[in-house]
């Protein structure tokens, strides 16, 4: 099993989620994060003193996927989360030693 962590733009979440569940991903976990990168943040102004906000609000989507599904999932995310503008985000893939479904105690791929 692999764990796919994708940092995407907030307003892309709907699309990504729909695309993924459309192709049979039955679960995912999302987190509000802030990102720093090539995409520069913005400046805000309070009583004339400007200040740079370098962290841009993003969404992190975590999906545990069976090896079989991996490529498909990556492609889907790539496709749906892309705008072509700097700041589209990254996808990180890492190994999962095991997965357990708390409700049933199932482990491995059928726990996903």
């Amino acid at each position: 099993m692999k764990k796919v962590e994708a940092i995407i733009r907030i307003f892309k979440l709907e699309d990504v989620k729909n695309a993924l569940s459309a192709q049979g991903v039955h679960g995912m976990t999302i987190t509000d994060v802030r990102g720093f990168g090539r995409q520069k943040g913005h400046t805000e102004m309070y009583r004339g003193t400007e200040y740079k906000v370098e962290f841009v609000p993003k969404i992190k989507v975590e999906v545990a996927v069976p090896e079989a599904q991996l490529q498909a999932v990556l492609d889907t995310i790539m496709r749906t989360a892309q705008t072509g503008q700097t700041g589209d985000g990254k996808i990180f893939v890492s190994d999962l030693v095991d997965t357990i479904r708390i409700r049933t105690g199932e482990t491995g791929e059928q726990a996903i």
Partner: protein
């Protein structure tokens, strides 16, 4: 260059007004007890101003404060809570900035266009720059012009607060997508070209003032309409203009596809409660005195708000299984809107009835009607104020009774007691709808051509707070 274009429009408008006036308006606008608001000119010129009634003045100053509170923080919270987090400041900014902008306009030319002179169509320059309203040094002593039992300054202030909240209500329609600069230009013109004339027609002995000579001069007004606190002047005008805005600006990106839930329902509830409280100043204050009429209007307002809250929430409970807080709040506001034109003319049970009606009708307007036609009236400015205001204006024709105010020489007034007010009410509604639609449409088209109405897609996605004002609502790190 853009300004020139606008200037032309403005001139054209006043030319029109001026003509109509010189053409048919000569005999119009003598004050009548039905239109006591026409008194200022006279009382202001009186040698010996009557003494200030401290009680009336106390109430009117309080009411003025309450009505300002309706816009800020009231409406700012009610609307601010309903938008998405990224646009909360833009909505609040619109409300707050209008508190400043409309006030300055009112002081310079707004009040005189609305209440100056006694023309049938529009005010004259009598009170330009507050001349004749503010204190003056007259033969060796200070003098403060009066408006019946209160200083004219108090009347100007109270009415000025209406001039703030009316445009602010429109913001509900184009929330989350209109350019701030365009909104500023639009409101300056809208206030001048829609609100001021309408206010003059209804409240300063103009063509729509009940039983005014001006109304008499135009048979099609059916003797004019009764609008105690602004059903036509405030709610229909803003609500209908709001609909035009929603249609011309188009839908928000993702409207219908992605959810756009209120980001902070608690703000909306606080705002609704403050609107309810402030509305007492709005309606009871429209008696322009702390008399029995004020008490009666206060009661009608309170009862209608209460009934509206219950009926809207009740509709949800019956048809959706759950009463929501937003439903109760929306219903209360609907009830308040609906009772506004009637508040000084109806008794208790009709007030409850109007509240119930408002809750039901506005609920349908915001769900069925909006869904049916698919326009994006972001915060239902039309569904609540346009529809509720129209309903209220008509029901005023039904329920208004001489038992509260004898405005018809002892004869019955409302349909229910055998009077014929309804005709005038319908005329008033129609005229107001036409004025609001036509002028708003023209203004938006012109402004769109000149400077554009909408923010860019990129800006809309990022949110108006950052892109229009360079600020963020909440920074909880």
């Amino acid at each position: 260059m853009s300004l020139t274009r606008l200037a032309i429009l403005v001139c054209a408008w006043f030319a029109l007004m001026g003509n109509s006036q010189s053409l048919w308006g000569q005999d119009a606008g003598q004050p009548t007890d039905a239109a006591i608001q026409a008194a200022p000119a006279e009382s202001a010129d009186a040698e010996e101003p009557p003494p200030v009634d401290r009680g009336d003045n106390a109430w009117m100053l309080t009411s003025s404060a309450l009505v300002l509170m309706m816009t800020g923080p009231g409406l700012a919270l009610f609307y601010g809570g309903l938008v998405r987090k990224k646009n909360v400041l833009s909505v609040m900014m619109q409300c707050f900035f209008l508190m400043g902008l409309m006030t300055v306009i009112w002081a310079l030319w707004g009040y005189t266009l609305a209440f100056g002179g006694s023309g049938a169509w529009i005010g004259d320059a009598e009170f330009l720059f507050m001349r004749g309203v503010e204190a003056e040094w007259v033969d060796g002593a200070p003098r403060i012009p009066m408006y019946s039992s209160i200083p004219m300054l108090t009347h100007m202030l109270f009415q000025g607060m209406f001039f703030i909240i009316t445009p602010a209500l429109i913001c509900g329609a184009f929330a989350e997508r209109m350019k701030f600069s365009s909104m500023v230009v639009f409101m300056i013109l809208w206030g001048t070209l829609v609100y001021c004339p309408l206010c003059h027609w209804v409240w300063d002995g103009g063509i729509l003032a009940y039983r005014s000579d001006a109304a008499a001069a135009y048979p099609w007004t059916m003797n004019g309409a009764l609008d105690f606190a602004g059903g036509t002047v405030v709610h229909i005008s803003s609500g209908v203009s709001a609909l035009v805005c929603a249609l011309l600006l188009g839908k928000r990106l993702g409207y219908g596809t992605e959810p756009m839930p209120p980001h902070n329902m608690t703000y909306t509830m606080i705002g609704a409660a403050l609107l309810w409280v402030g509305w007492f100043g709005f309606n009871a204050g429209s008696a322009l005195a702390a008399d029995g009429i004020a008490a009666s209007a206060f009661a009608a307002t309170h009862f209608s708000a209460a009934a509206g809250a219950l009926s809207w929430a009740g509709m949800e409970w019956v048809f959706r299984g759950k009463p929501t807080l937003l439903g109760a709040c929306s219903g209360a506001v609907a009830g308040l809107v609906c009772i506004t034109p009637a508040s000084g003319y109806v008794t208790a049970m009709p007030s409850l009835a109007m509240g119930v009606a408002a809750g039901v009708v506005c609920y349908l307007a915001c769900t069925w009607l909006k869904g049916r036609f698919g326009y994006d009236d972001s915060l239902d400015a039309f569904g609540v104020h346009g529809v509720g205001g129209t309903l209220g204006a008509l029901l005023t024709g039904v329920f208004a009774t001489r038992a509260v105010q004898d405005l018809n020489g002892g004869e019955p007034i409302g349909l229910l007691e055998g009077g014929n007010l309804l005709g005038g009410q319908i005329a008033g509604v129609v005229v107001t709808w036409i004025l609001a639609i036509v002028v708003t449409f023209i203004l938006l088209k012109v402004i769109d051509a000149v400077m554009g109405l909408r923010v860019t897609t990129q800006q809309e996605l990022q949110g108006l707070d950052l892109t229009q004002h360079g600020e963020e609502g909440y920074i909880y790190i």
